[in-house]
Structures are given as C-alpha cells and as structure tokens.
Symmetry: C2
Subunit: 400 residues, 2 copies
C-alpha cells in the first residue's frame, strides 16, 4: 500500500516509516522539523542523538534499498499538503504532524494559541486536501486517550449507546480533555467525524495511550535510523522520562500521589497497531475509533517497574513525589475498552520491565548528554499559567 506520513521526522513517524517499508509498503512523508525547534526552545534535546534528515534519508536508502519520498513543508501551507497528496495518491494517510505536548500548550497564551491553531488548522487542511485530491484514501489520525479524561464510567471506543429519558441513541462518548493540547485532539476528532459524514471520507481515529521505548527491531544498529527520545518536561512522556532519570541517578519524578492511571504501550506495539489500522481500512464514509494501548497502569506502578529494570542493570533508583504542576485527579476510576485492535489481531507486549531494560541499555551510552540536563528534570510549567519548579512532597512511598 502507499502510505503518507505527516510528521515523518518525529518520534513515531520516523519509526513507522521504517516499520512500513520493511513490510513492503511504499512510504512518503513530510515534516517541517518543528519538534526539533520546540525541544530546543524548552532547553533540552533528544537523549538519543538525532541526525539531520539528509543523513537519515541516506541511511534509509542504504538499509531498505529504496529512497524515502520526503518533502519539507508545513501542514498550515495548504497548497503544499494538497500538492504532495495529489502527486503521491496514498492509500492511507497517517497524521502524526502535530504539537504533542500538554505542558508546552500550557506555558502561556502564545503557546496555547499556537498549539490550537497549528493542530486544528493543520488537521483541517489534511481533511480538505483529502476531499479534493484523494477522497478514497484512509486517514489514520493520531488522537490520544487523554481526550476522554477520567470519567467515572467505562470508556468505550469513541461511541456508546445511551438510554436517556426512555429513548436511545448511539452518540459520541463525551470528551473531557485536560490541557489546551489535549483539547486540540478533541477538536480534531470532532472535525473528522463531520468530514467523514459529510464528504464520505474514511478515518480511523486513534485514541493512543502513552508510548515508551527507544527502538523497534527494524532500526538495527545504524544510529542514523534511531528515533529521537525526549526526556524534558514537555516532550518526554512518563516512562521515557523515568528511564532517562534512572540512567543518571535522578529520582523518578512522580507528580502528586502517582495514582493517575493511564494506558501505555511500547513503541513496537504502536507500530503494530497503526499498521493493523492501515492494512484493515474502514468502509468509505466510515469514522471509527480505536483505543490503542497495551494495558493501564498507575504512574506509580510504572515507576516501580522502571526501578526494577534499573536494578537489573545495576542502577540504584529512588522514587520521589513532587507537588503536581497539573490540575488533575491522582486517584480515579479508569476502565477503557481496547477491543477493536484485539479483534484485528493485536498481540500486546505485556512485559514492561523487559522493554525498559532495552531502553536503559540504549540510553546508558548517552548518560553524559542526559546528565547535562539534570537541572531541568523536575517540572516547572504549571497548569495555572505560572512557572515554578515543583518541590518534593512527603507522600509515603510504599516499597515495591
């Protein structure tokens, strides 16, 4: 199949380009390299060195024996995305080209406005371009499990049947996002539902959990083929951040009680799931939602798993609680479905500790790089719009 990837230079995009090519798909993609700028803006860099796109493309060609069809450009430039899609005529479009950070969107008005405009208008442009030049393509849109928030009832996959005052309907499940970034994903989902209904586009909206991991097997030993791995407060997600902290002996930073429960999955599961969606497209006009994660864990439970993996490679790790810079509940009910991907054949990787051991081995050679950023590992971007670094709190931490 011909697969177009928006955001192909990113954490998932670069891995997916390789995973799909190795499976025989023809891949094209775009990026404007904004992620590289944003991480630099917040004072950090990828723990694993990221090569220039020229070097990446050369390595890609050497390893996979085929060039990667890449163009630099911005989804906000409608003529660019429309022209590229018209030329490539993809079967599937995987849209990973958005600002992916909640804290980044909460820094101030300018960052909130940028995040909302960039994500909402960029995705809207993808929908319009599909309608105009490739209406039969299948959009695989990256949303987030964070769209749902933490309701006190089970979370179905996108829609549910409700009985209310004696009548029934199947309706979108209510969204309760908890940052201006997460809200962009809700806005995108709503726009996409409408585009499918009105224009007959086909879309899979992926409510993805938090991804962790440094590699997929396809990358091999060529450092130019590795994905980036961020660990700063904005672009480093929970387990990735913990793994980097463990490598340099920084305490693992739990926010609040650490009882926040979320869905997680290793990068290799994300690749497997996205590919299942691509290879099993919905019908024309169909909008479907996949909840995509391996399993739900509390943040605290994951910290213990990281500590266990760290001990296995000889690293001593402490776990600290910090006052939570976010406004969120740290103990709550959480029970989302994830049946659609299982039905398509998803085989979850259940061994988080084994995956984290691989991560630690990949990260240990970059210990000095990470250590140089020791001072920024405790968050200071607060949901109230202020900036001050969290302090350790006296939350009793039971032994594992």
């Amino acid at each position: 199949m011909k697969v177009f990837i928006a955001g192909i230079d990113g954490y998932l995009g670069w891995a997916l380009a390789q995973y799909l090519t190795a499976r025989g798909h023809e891949v094209a993609g775009m990026d404007r390299f904004l992620r590289r700028q944003w991480v630099e803006e917040v004072g950090s860099y990828s723990a694993i060195p990221v090569y220039s796109m020229e070097e990446r493309l050369l390595a890609f060609r050497q390893r996979y024996g085929t060039p990667l069809n890449f163009r630099e450009g911005d989804l906000l430039d409608y003529e660019f995305i429309r022209g590229f899609l018209a030329d490539f005529q993809p079967d599937a479009i995987v849209h990973l080209g958005e600002v992916p950070s909640a804290p980044y969107s909460m820094i101030d008005q300018a960052h909130a406005a940028f995040t909302q405009q960039n994500n909402v208008v960029g995705s809207l442009n993808v929908l319009w371009a599909m309608k105009e030049v490739c209406p039969d393509a299948h959009l695989v849109k990256l949303g987030t499990m964070g769209e749902y928030g933490t309701p006190n009832i089970d979370i179905p996959e996108g829609f549910f049947e409700i009985e209310y005052r004696g009548r029934k309907d199947v309706l979108p499940f209510p969204r309760q996002a908890n940052s201006f970034y997460h809200l962009t994903k809700v806005h995108d989902s709503n726009n996409t539902v409408f585009a499918c209904k009105t224009w007959g586009l086909a879309a899979t909206d992926i409510m993805q959990g938090v991804v962790f991991g440094t590699q997929i097997d396809e990358m091999g030993d060529d450092p130019r083929l590795l994905s980036r791995l961020d660990f700063d407060q904005c672009f480093g997600t929970a387990i990735n951040r913990f793994a980097c902290q463990a490598v340099i002996g920084h305490p693992l930073t739990l926010y609040g009680a650490g009882g926040q429960t979320r869905g997680f999955l290793p990068m290799r599961d994300s690749m497997q799931c996205l590919t299942l969606a691509i290879e099993n497209p919905p019908a024309p006009g169909e909008y479907r939602v996949f909840n995509q994660f391996e399993e739900c864990y509390t943040i605290e439970a994951l910290a213990y798993k990281v500590r266990e993996a760290a001990e296995a490679v000889g690293l001593e790790t402490e776990i600290y609680h910090y006052d939570n810079p976010r406004t969120e509940s740290d103990h709550h009910y959480y029970n989302p479905d994830r049946q659609h991907l299982i039905d398509l054949g998803y085989q979850p990787t259940h061994d988080v500790v084994a995956e984290v051991r691989i991560m630690l081995q990949d990260l240990l050679p970059h210990k000095e790089r990470i250590y140089a950023k020791y001072d920024i590992l405790v968050p200071d971007i607060r949901w109230n719009g202020g900036r001050h670094r969290s302090h350790r709190i006296d939350e009793a931490v039971p032994s594992a």
Copy 2:
C-alpha cells in the same frame, strides 16, 4: 454592572449595548467590523442600512446620554483584548465576536480554516485575558443550539447523568455539529469548560437558537440605532431571510422538505435572556450551560407563519422547496430543555406572527435595496464544497 461586549457592531452586539445601557449598566465593547466585510464579500449587504461606527456612537450618546466606551480591534490581537479588559475591569464579558455563519465556513478550505482559527483562537484569547487581568469576571459566551446536532434523545442543558454498564457519572452531553462553523462553537465550549475547571473562571455558555427580528423597543426611531439585518445565504438566518423574501415577492426558500426543527427566538428575547445571564452570574469556577430559545418549530411551520404575517400586511407569498445545499436530516426527533432561563424569570414571547409583522413593517421601506439582490436569494454554497444554485424540487406543500 460593567459589561464588556466583544462584537459590539454586530446584529446582537449593537442591540445588547443599547438594551443594557437602558437598564443602567455600564457598557464597553470592541469590534473589527469584519461582519461588514464578510457580507460584502458574499455579494450582499444589510437590508436595513448600517451607519458607520462614528455615526452610531454619536446617536448612542444622544439617546442614552452617555458615551459608549468603544475600541476598534481584533480578538486575535492578544495585547489589544488583554489591554482593554485590564483597563475596563468588567463584571461580565459577553462574547459575540465570532464568524456566525455555517455556509461561509463551508465555501472552501480557506474559509473553513479562517472560521476555525478566528473563532477558536479569538475565544482562547478571551479566556487567557480573563485569567490574567479580570479573573473574577463572568464570561457569557455565545454558542449555538447547533452544537448538539439532532440526537434521537432529549437534549439537556450541557450536561446529563448517564448510567453505563452499571456505573454513573455526570458528563458533557455529546456534541454533533454540522458545519465547520458550528464545530468552532463546540471547540470553544470544550476550551471554556477546561478554563473554568483549571483557572476557576465563571462562564455561562449560551446554546442559542436562531434569532430573528429587526428591533428592540430601546432603538426607537433613530435609524442610526437600528441593528443590521442580513438576508443573504451566509449571514441571513431563516426567519430574517424569509421576511426579506416576503417583502419583495420572492418565494420563501425551504431547504429540502423543511422538516428541520430548530429552536428560535426573537431578538427581544435574546436580549432578555442574555441580560438574565449577566445579572445572575454563576459561582466562581462554575461553568453552566443555558439552552436559549423561545420554542422549537420546523422551518416549514415558520414559513407558514411568515406567510400569514405577510398576508396581514397585504403581501402575497409563495413557499418553494429547494434541493438542500446542506447535508442534514430534514425529519428528526428534537426535544431540547430550556429550563434554566425560565427558572431565572425568562418570559418567552410566543407570538411569532406578531413579531414578523413588525419585521415586515421595518423592512418594507427598504424593499428596493432587497430587490436588488433578488438573484442571490437561492443558496449556492453546498456542503460538498461545490458551488451551484439549488433548484426547486417537487415537494408537496400542503396548504397552511
């Protein structure tokens, strides 16, 4: 109370400024006059001549004995809105400063992107400015009943208690908007819920029905104090459009079967309701939703009411069905609540025919102006992104 109106030059904004001032409130407001440009862009103008803001301000001062605190500017200019709110320190902010047209948002990619960016980022800027310079003010945000779409169950006011798989929660009622414009109102609602929860702002989110009418009593006989009244396919809402068509003997343009049911209210009821919201603010941190309409009618039933009023003033009127340029269902269940405003004392004006008679009398002196636009009264902006003028369809039209 000190009330700030964003979009004070618009159809509702100009009326509200007068209604509130006449009741003794202190009003300030902003506008960038974009509505005037948009209506011109789609080839039309207001049926009732609109005076320049300089002339409006002079008439305002003459009639109400106090100057109107007005500044020209754009909600996308964050320093402008932040500065004005910081200076004025309002008790309430009524946000009417958005693109208000579904067809305008469906013209093409550029209009869809403009509408979403303008409305979403503009509203986001209002929220940030409130947080930064007047966190105790009460936001009265104009949404639309169109956010809910037409579910097959009753529509509560914003939230409902659900029982699902044996557990209960109170959740936002699902939104199913049917144009890129209506979707902006959903996005705004979601952003506002989050801002209230996270920053403790207070907001009333008004899910307003379709407003009609040419005047409120406060305007008196001074033509400079009248509101605009649009009748083109983009900015003319159903009854306003029908009234202008009746005045020039153009058939009333029903889209499809005309069985679409919506909530409607006269402009004088809109003023009454907005003022009830302003004068009865929610608690700090509270986000509440008011469904705001006088009654629900099918579009066809309203066409008959317009015909009845037209006959009473000696105008013969035909009602035609046209192929529907929108993708929407023209027969559906529709039963929204509207109890919150009734509880606050809202007295609905039930006589639509009497209100339309007033409209016709106000519009008849401008018959020539309206007649000059005879050729654009049948819509040509289609939900599939194309442009072609609807044709009359052979839908049996029962006599009234």
